[in-house]
Assembly symmetry: C2
Homo-oligomer: 270 residues x 2
C-alpha cells in the first residue's frame, strides 16, 4: 500500500479477513439499543471530554468529570476555566465518553457523544444534581461549593454511539433519557471468565444450535448483557461472531447463571 | 456544607489542609515549561477527544486516534463520520489529550488542549503524516488507504496545559512546536520506585538541604523529568511538596542515576 496507489473503498475489503456467514438461521437474539448502549457507557466512568464554544465560536475540547442525573451528565466547572467561561456565554455543548477498555486497539472500545446544551439546575434539581456529582466525583467536595464553580446539567438532545468497528447508531435525547444502563454488562467479567474456563463445550453447543453456525469447533464468550451472550467462534471456514439471547431479559448479574443454564438447555434441545 | 450556605472563594481554603511553607530558600530548580509539558502529554498516548463544529456551529466531541508529526496531531478520520464531515466543512478543531494515570482522582492527571485548524497534508508532508499516524496507530493500516478516510494535520495555534490541581498554564503554538517531549518522565517509573525503595534517606537529605524544608522527616519522589525530581515530604508542620534540580538537564533515562547521585552529593555538601 502506498499513498500514490488507487483509492480503495469500504466495499472492497482488500486484504482484510473475510467472515464466514451463518449456515442456518440464528435464533432471535435481542441486542441492547443504541440508547441503552449509550446509557451503559455513560454509567461506566466519571470522566469525559467536553466540547464547548469559545467567544470566537471555535470548538474547545477539555477534560471534565461528571456524575449522572437520570442519564444527564452533571458537570461542576470553574468559571475561571476556559470551558466554564464558554458555557456561561453559550450553553451549547457535547461530551464524549469512552468506556474503560483493556483492548490494545483503541478503536475497538465503545464510546458515545451526548450533545445538547447545559442549564444551571435550580431548587430540588440542583440538590439532586449536586448529590449526583458528589456521588461520582468524591474530590468535588473540596471545591463544589466555592463560588467560582458552577453546576451544569447537560440536557441531551441527541446521541451518537460507536460500539467498536462497524457497530454504531444514533439515538434521540428522549430515547437516551428513557433507557436504562445495562445492569449486567459492567459486572459480567468474572462470569464470562468462568463460562470460558469451565463451560466451553456449552458455548460451542449454543453457537451450533442457536447461533447459526452448526460447524462451530469452539466458541468463546466475549460479552454478556441483560439480553444475551456475544460469542466468537471458530469454524473450518474461519472465525465468526454470533449472539445468543436468553428466553427473557435479566435484571441483575445474579440471574446470569440461570439464564446461561437455560441457554444450554435450549441448545441441547432440552 | 449545604448548597444554601454562603459562597466560598478559592481564597478561603475552608477545611482544605494547609501546606507548610519552606523554612529556607530552595535551591533553583528548573521546571518543564507548559509547552514542554504539553509535548510530553501529547507524546504519552495515541488517543484523544476532538472538538469540531457541526453544520449548525454546535460543538461536537468525538473520540479519535492520532500520531504526531513534530508535535502536530495527525488524524485519520472517515468522511462518513460526523467529525469527518465537520472537518471537511470547517477546519477549526481542538484536541484534548489526557496522560495515562493511575491516580484515583481523575482531576490529578495531566491533560492538554491543542487548538487550531486542520489541513490535509500534501506531497512529502503527506507521506510523513501517513507514517506518523501508522507508527502510532497500527490498526490504521486496515483503513488508512480507503478513499473515505482523510489524513488531517492539526496546526496548533494555542495550547492550554493542566498538570493537576493548581498547575496550569498556556503556551503559544510556536512554543509548543519548538519544544521537545520529556525524554525522562515517561520512562521514570522504575527509577522512581528504586529511589523510594532504596534511597529514602537520600531523598530526605535533598529535601532538607536543597528543597527548603530542613525539618523534613521523610520524603518520597513523585516524579522525575529532564530537569529534576519532584518530592513529597513530611515535616512536623505537615505534608509539603518541593522540587530539586540536577546541576544540568539530562537527555535520557540512562542519565538519571548519575544525576541523582550528583543531587545526593550536593545535598550532603559534597
Amino acid at each position: 500500500m502506498t499513498s500514490a496507489g488507487p483509492p480503495r473503498d469500504h466495499g472492497d475489503p482488500g486484504d482484510a479477513p473475510t467472515v464466514p456467514p451463518p449456515l442456518t438461521e440464528p435464533a432471535p437474539a435481542r441486542r441492547p439499543s443504541a440508547a441503552e448502549e449509550a446509557r451503559t457507557i455513560a454509567a461506566s466512568t466519571n470522566t469525559g471530554t467536553l466540547a464547548t464554544l469559545t467567544a470566537d465560536g471555535d470548538p474547545w475540547a477539555s477534560f471534565v468529570t461528571y456524575g449522572l442525573l437520570e442519564g444527564a451528565p452533571v458537570l461542576c466547572v470553574s468559571n475561571l476555566a476556559e470551558h466554564g467561561r464558554n458555557l456561561a456565554t453559550d450553553p451549547r455543548a457535547s461530551i464524549a465518553i469512552t468506556a474503560p477498555s483493556t483492548d490494545a486497539d483503541p478503536l475497538a472500545s465503545g464510546r458515545v457523544t451526548l450533545a445538547g446544551h447545559v442549564e444551571a439546575p435550580v431548587g430540588a434539581e440542583r440538590d439532586a444534581a449536586r448529590e449526583a456529582h458528589l456521588g461520582a466525583v468524591a474530590a468535588a467536595k473540596y471545591y463544589l461549593d466555592y463560588s467560582d464553580f458552577t453546576l451544569w446539567v447537560l440536557r441531551v438532545d441527541r446521541v451518537r454511539w460507536v460500539g467498536g468497528y462497524g457497530r454504531m447508531d444514533s439515538a434521540t435525547g428522549r430515547d437516551y433519557t428513557a433507557a436504562q444502563p445495562d445492569p449486567v454488562a459492567p459486572r459480567a467479567a468474572g462470569a464470562i471468565a468462568h463460562l470460558n474456563a469451565d463451560h466451553a463445550d456449552s458455548l460451542a453447543a449454543m453457537a451450533r444450535a442457536l447461533g447459526g453456525y452448526p460447524d462451530t469447533e469452539s466458541a468463546v464468550c466475549t460479552g454478556a448483557d441483560r439480553y444475551g451472550l456475544d460469542l466468537r467462534l471458530d469454524t473450518p471456514r474461519g472465525m465468526a461472531y454470533t449472539r445468543v439471547g436468553y428466553p427473557r431479559p435479566i435484571d441483575s448479574i445474579d440471574e446470569l447463571r440461570s439464564a446461561a443454564v437455560e441457554l444450554v438447555k435450549m441448545a441441547r434441545g432440552g
